[in-house]
């Protein structure tokens, strides 16, 4: 369990950022993953007083505060209206409602965890992260960056007309995913995100015209990623699952288009 000496509820992002420049400090979001880590820190910086716990919808985008909980994401009517069923599907298997009432979107994204359903889902959308000092950058670029001591303030999902669907496989209902897949589509492009390989989610962008057959296209997408083995499953099994789920998601998207 994490131990720390000082708890500071930051009154501004500047204060939080300055406090976080010391290696002995850590940002506390939902405290779900952080709490079970065996670490000793001097200061825990709490962002919960900065009004970053909402979802704002504009004509161009959804702006999600870093302290917005996974449960808020799951039940937000605007998000569900624009991406029907997507956020419900990607959050519903994450432990239980009490957990999702605590875990935050910012914690999930900043952590870039190899098991993250949220990262997998958002990567397939036109998503940007807003960092306090680093500005607004695409989520894909953020994923490839090394961890630093900046602060994730908001996540922005553009309303670019993409439709998206999500699927995951688990050993038991509320376990970490064995594989997590999200596919979105524009007129001529599929955006395929696969996470829990078990490694942080990555994105493959595939032309819909590259193959006629949906199974071949799914296999091509699955080939983009590297897979690993752990006690939940082998690399071969994960790759097989990824191809199957991506194919199913392609088919759902095609069906939706009629």
């Amino acid at each position: 369990m994490i131990r720390f000496k000082n708890y500071v509820r930051a009154e501004s992002l500047e204060e939080a950022y300055n406090l976080n420049q010391k290696k002995s400090s850590v940002i506390g979001a939902g405290m779900m993953w952080l709490k079970v880590q065996n670490r000793i820190k001097m200061t825990l910086v709490d962002l919960s007083g900065l009004g970053l716990d909402g979802v704002e919808e504009t004509e161009e985008e959804f702006v999600i505060g870093a302290m917005c909980t996974l449960r808020q994401l799951e039940i937000h009517k605007g998000l569900d209206g624009y991406f029907p069923g997507l956020f419900k599907e990607c959050t519903r298997s994450i432990v239980g409602v009490q957990f999702r009432n605590g875990a935050t979107v910012g914690g999930s994204i900043f952590g870039r965890f190899g098991f993250s359903d949220i990262l997998t889902c958002m990567l397939a959308l036109d998503t940007y992260v807003e960092l306090y000092k680093g500005g607004i950058i695409p989520l894909e670029e953020f994923c490839s960056q090394k961890y630093n001591r900046d602060i994730l303030v908001r996540i922005r999902i553009k309303k670019d007309g993409r439709r998206a669907f999500y699927a995951s496989s688990r050993m038991t209902k509320t376990d970490f995913p064995l594989i997590a897949c999200c596919v979105s589509a524009t007129d001529d492009t599929y955006y395929v995100s696969v996470g829990a390989r078990p490694a942080k989610a990555e994105l493959a962008v595939i032309s819909r015209r590259e193959r006629e057959d949906v199974e071949e296209l799914a296999a091509l997408a699955a080939d983009h990623f590297r897979y690993g083995t752990n006690f939940r499953g082998s690399a071969e099994y994960r790759k097989h699952l990824a191809a199957v789920y991506v194919k199913r998601l392609f088919m759902v998207l095609d069906r939706e288009e009629g």
């Binding site: 000082n6 708890y7 709490k35 079970v36 825990l44 298997s93 409602v97 957990f99 509320t174």
Partner: protein
């Protein structure tokens, strides 16, 4: 550090260490219904309501409870007794260790959900584990409890 919060309707001023969890604080204050089963945020035994929302007290910092309204099973006796009678009627009590967390989450669910379809209920309660695996009895009890108003009307 000093925090001030409402615990089961009573205003509390309490000294807490910066990294103490709400779970430990509640136990210190005599709320023994709040239990810690896994300490990895999976079992739901430590569920309490913070500002009406079900939270896992084992991962909720006591410092964050400053200014909040916290309710444990001790503060929801009437509702707990009512739901408890449905659990007993279905033989769903078994060892009873998980019941306080389950009851608190059922009370939160009752307020939050618009529809009590079985899938919604199962999904809402997925974070409450029962080592006796008494899930079917619990589910029957929850369904009876949630439809009790309808039964009264029928009578």
């Amino acid at each position: 550090m000093q925090i001030e919060f409402t615990l089961n309707g009573r205003l509390i001023y309490e000294e807490t260490s910066d990294d103490e969890t709400l779970f430990h604080l509640l136990r210190r204050k005599g709320c023994y219904s709040v239990k810690c089963g896994c300490e990895t945020e999976n079992c739901g035994l430590c569920t309490v309501l913070v500002n009406g929302v079900s939270r896992l007290s084992c991962s909720y910092l006591a410092a964050r409870a400053d200014g909040c309204d916290v309710v444990t099973l001790e503060g929801a006796q009437k509702e707990a007794e009512e739901f408890g009678s449905f659990l007993a009627a279905e033989g769903a009590e078994q060892c009873g260790f998980c019941s306080p967390g389950l009851i608190m989450n059922v009370l939160a669910m009752e307020k939050e959900l618009d529809s009590y379809e079985e899938e919604n209920v199962k999904e809402y309660l997925a974070g409450n584990l029962c080592r006796c695996s008494g899930y079917m009895g619990q589910l029957r009890a929850v369904k009876s409890y949630l439809s009790r108003g309808e039964n009264r009307n029928e009578c």
